[in-house]
């Protein structure tokens, strides 16, 4: 309760009242508690890692996909069929009379095959990356040169066909391999009749 002190008369004459020096120290413990509470909340409620994305461009319905196929020489074509149980079938060239081989998603599986096929481009990209680090190349220049390398006409063209038994991870893995192996021309194609027949003849 506030009180009005009326003892002004009680002052001794000549003696000045000394104001008591207040300590400026404040107990900060509750404030620290609060700060840590909020900190904990923010740490738990937020996500620091932003998800990564893969950008893909699908051929639209209007464009004819055959246009792509006809441009590609049979010697450049690689067909990959994603089958169940993380199996990958692949063959080179035309579907008719193709020799189907089996592999998997391990680094020495699909990646090795694609890298040997795409050796020139992959090597150039690798060299460019090294050069970029060495000479501190500008990002624009790097991208320009990268797209130049990737536009190589002799690079393989990959058709990715996912069977109904495969799952989403298989698809993403396959697309990822395209990225790793610097293959610029690839398409996700329907798993249709001639290929289906080819595979089913392989596995009864």
């Amino acid at each position: 309760m506030a009180e009005i002190s009326q003892d002004s008369g009680s002052h001794k004459k000549g003696k000045k009242k000394r104001s008591k020096k207040l300590t400026t120290r404040i107990d900060l413990t509750p404030m620290v508690d609060l700060a840590f509470l909020l900190l904990t909340f923010f740490m738990l409620a937020t996500s620091l890692i932003k998800p990564q994305t893969m950008e893909i461009t699908m051929p639209s319905d209007k464009k004819v996909l055959d246009e792509d196929k006809t441009v590609a020489k049979a010697s450049q074509a690689i067909s990959i069929i994603l089958a169940k149980d993380d199996k990958v079938y692949y063959y080179f060239g035309k579907t008719e009379g193709a020799k189907v081989l089996t592999t998997n998603y391990a680094p020495d599986g699909l990646r090795k095959i694609l890298l040997t096929k795409n050796f020139d481009v992959a090597k150039q990209v690798e060299d460019l990356k090294a050069e970029k680090i060495r000479t501190r190349m500008k990002e624009d220049d790097y991208q320009k040169r990268l797209s130049q390398i990737r536009a190589n006409k002799n690079a393989p063209v990959v058709r990715i066909m996912a069977s109904d038994d495969s799952n989403y991870k298989n698809l993403v893995d396959a697309l990822d391999e395209m990225n790793i192996c610097s293959i610029s021309r690839y398409a996700i194609v329907d798993y249709d009749q001639p290929d289906k027949q080819l595979i089913s003849s392989l596995t009864p």
């Binding site: 700060a35 900190l39 990564q52 950008e55 639209s60 038994d165 799952n167 993403v172």
Partner: protein, 202 residues
């Protein structure tokens, strides 16, 4: 011999420094992070080496869970309000203003329009149960998913499409989604993945 008297020390610790640190960290977390978006199902995305980050705004998220249910959502409450209005009109579903308000607060919704009213009336704690989320139909006979994408595109032309699917999602479901997008001439989209270490090259 007189016993040595132990001098009593003060237990007072100066908290100022600790307070400084705590607030510094707090400020850092508040500024750098964005809130985890609540999703109706837990999805574990496959990993990739891609390092492109997803933009934060103008995103149309298509979530596909393990069982093949499709969820759909866009960002921005105002945009969502317009979207649900369009969809309700299209499928002749009468939604009250409260139900529309509820929809705008939801990040992702996976229900056919016929079940939407009942879904929005559910209390928040049972809303995420699997039996209450039927998934947006994306079959060729009843392709509500296509209408969602089309309407969302009309509401916000700048939308980018992000597909977030579980690793174990069977491919036919993904194919259905991709086919629907293809029919709408939406041929550029992003697949959300988590980061994997750069591949070890020999």
């Amino acid at each position: 011999m007189p016993k040595a008297k132990i001098k009593r020390k003060s237990t007072w610790v100066d908290m100022t420094a600790m307070c400084d640190v705590a607030f510094l960290l707090l400020t850092f977390f508040m500024l750098t992070s964005n809130f985890t978006r609540k999703e109706p199902v837990l999805v574990s995305t496959p990993s990739s080496v891609s390092e492109i980050k997803i933009p934060e705004t103008n995103i149309m998220t298509i979530l596909v869970d393990k069982t093949g249910k499709v969820y759909f959502g866009i960002d921005g409450q105002e945009k969502r309000k317009q979207l649900i209005g369009k969809m309700a009109y299209l499928y002749k579903v009468n939604l009250t203003p409260e139900e529309i308000k509820k929809y705008t607060l939801l990040e992702l919704v996976g229900n056919p329009m016929q079940a939407m009213k009942a879904y929005l009336r559910l209390p928040a704690d049972v809303r995420d149960l699997p039996q209450n989320n039927l998934g947006v139909p994306a079959d060729s006979t009843n392709n509500e998913f296509k209408e969602w994408v089309k309407s969302a595109r009309e509401v916000n032309p700048d939308l980018r499409i992000a597909i977030k699917a579980d690793e174990k999602t069977p491919y036919p479901v993904i194919k259905k989604v991709m086919k629907s997008l293809q029919q709408l001439n939406e041929d550029r989209y992003n697949l959300i993945t988590k980061l994997e270490g750069a591949p070890g090259k020999e």
